[in-house]
Amino acid sequence: MAALVIAEHDNAGIKAATLNTVTAAIACGGDVHVLVAGENAAAAAEAAAKIAGVAKVLLADSAALAHGLAENLAAQVIAIAGNYSHILFPATASGKNTAPRVAAKLDVAQVSDITKVVAADTFERPIYAGNAIATVQSADAVKVITVRTTGFDAAAATGGSASVEKIDAAADSGKSRFVGQEIAKNDRPELTAAKIIVSGGRALGSAEKFQEVMTPLADKLGAAIGASRAAVDAGYAANDLQVGQTGKIVAPQLYIAAGISGAIQHLAGMKDSKVIVAINKDPEAPIFSVADYGLEADLFTAVPELVKAL
């Protein structure tokens, strides 16, 4: 049997989360196929075909699949699900939205947010905000899985030469409709794919200060900007910048936390980062207990100084 990876893409190319998901799929054993469902997504399918370890790419191209509406995307996956023992989605907003619909229609359990493939039917996944790791075994014929991308290395984006096969696209359910989107446009790397993240907390004090202090550091390092829940709740940073249990789970090479105390829910979202730097003036801040390098200082002087020193 083979594993099917549902690609995260923007029609023009493949998003990084797809690469980590392919690695998880390879670990499940068997061939790996990738489904690219979108509108005018041939370029994304071509990119998927180059991923190392992918045997075949299936391209479903239709207006109904343009915005990844869960109803239509799930129907697309279900239409071809019979050929697979494993169906894997990246645990992104889109993957989390769609995977359970597929699992329920197939009458199988879903294994969410896996961080390790122990065997073809056994997986590790964090529970209680990462305070415990559960090893679970699925008895279902098809394993529907979402993959925590930070748990798996990215497959090489080039080196593969899979065939691209066009398949019939699922019909529009007619029950939901895309109205619009507001996606922040900037040149920064995506939070979940960034090599370096600089993250600000409530200590920044205002949205203006957050921008003023964090942006130069991010610019200097070519980093993505993140925020603690407290900073987002206070309106200093946009919702989608939140790092933590209920926000983004990240694991960059370098995570710099400025003015973040380190609530358990925040740590759950970043403690797998390779190197963690904490800048905080409170010596008792819990963030120091996970930081490789702690700097006990006022961020308003330390961060600009850091920008200068880099």
């Binding site: 869960a70 989390k96 939205n97 995977a99 359970p100 619909r101 699992a103 329920a104 229609k105 199988v108 359990a109 879903q110 969410s112 947010d113 056994t122 964090p126 529970i127 209680y128 905000a129 305070n131 415990a132 790791i133 559960a134 090893t135 679970v136 075994q137 008895a139 007619g174 029950k175 939901s176 409709r177 895309f178 619009g180 507001e182 996606i183 922040a184 995506e190 370096i196 390092l221 709740d233 946009a238 919702n239 989608d240 249990q245 209920t246 090479q253 358990i264 829910q265 190197v275 963690i276 120091f288 996970v290 490789d292 390098y293 702690g294 700097l295 006990e296 200082a297 330390a302 850091l306």
Partner: protein, 249 residues
């Protein structure tokens, strides 16, 4: 139009859970239990829709042990009109809960089902989407804004990189994200009133649902510990360490 609001009883978000020494699970004996925070937001949203005159009745549902009655009373103190407990001492996994809720949706015929995007114990993020699939309803997950008019729901969703707005025909399933609303504090008079509200109990077998778990938990372990590193005295040392020791910049 009725709104059905499923709520889950979970370990309170302030409790730091401990893994049992025999690795069979986490120790939840004698710890504080509360309503899943995302479900509280769901109840609040349903009650606000009732206050706006969009919804006529808010029905809270919980699946689990007898003690889930407390969670349902909390939902009714926020403003739910009545409650249903699907009582069982079996371990319930999301697919089973979705099937139980589907049976109740068939019975109650709500126009909206609003629930939390995930529970903070198993962090599954599945039940709403599974219910929508089983009941063949459209869904809007991770809602940060909900508007209902003319038999449609317009929902703004939190997605990677920003926000997305979709329109759904009703009935529909909506799952709540953190910033949809701020749940009200329940007042003592409302807690007293909630005690008198109707709470019905049914068993899974009465709903014709097999709730047997599909996933077997082999073990539960502590996550790998991350040791504290070193404190650096100043920015210059920090930059030096990052460049020459960690080699990440």
């Amino acid at each position: 139009m009725k709104a059905l609001v499923p709520v889950k009883r979970v370990v309170d978000y302030n409790v730091k859970v401990r893994v049992k020494s025999d690795n069979t699970g986490v120790d939840i004996a004698n710890v504080k239990m509360s309503m899943n925070p995302f479900d509280e937001i769901a109840v609040e949203e349903a009650v606000r829709l009732k206050e706006k005159g969009v919804v006529t009745e808010v029905i809270a549902v919980s699946c689990g042990v007898t003690a889930c009655q407390e969670t349902l009373r909390t939902a009714m103190a926020i403003g739910a009109d009545r409650a249903i407990l699907v009582e069982t001492s079996e371990e319930l996994q999301p697919l089973a809960v979705a099937k139980l809720l589907k049976a109740l949706v068939d019975k109650e015929q709500p126009g909206l089902i609003i629930l939390g995007k995930q529970a903070i114990d198993d962090d599954c993020n599945q039940t709403g989407q599974m219910l929508a699939a089983l009941a063949d309803l459209p869904q809007a997950t991770f809602a940060s804004k909900v508007e209902v008019a003319d038999g449609k729901a317009q929902v703004t969703r939190e997605v990677d990189g920003g926000l997305e707005t979709i329109a759904l025909s009703l009935p529909a399933v909506i799952t709540t994200d953190l910033r949809l609303n701020e749940p009200r504090y329940v007042t003592l008079p409302n807690i007293m009133k909630a005690k008198k509200k109707q709470l019905d109990t049914v068993k899974p077998e009465e709903l014709g649902v097999d709730v047997a778990p599909r996933l077997k938990t082999l073990k539960v372990t502590e996550p790998p510990k991350r040791g504290a590193g070193v404190k650096v005295p100043d920015v210059a040392t920090l930059v030096d360490k990052l460049k020459n020791e960690a080699k990440v910049i």
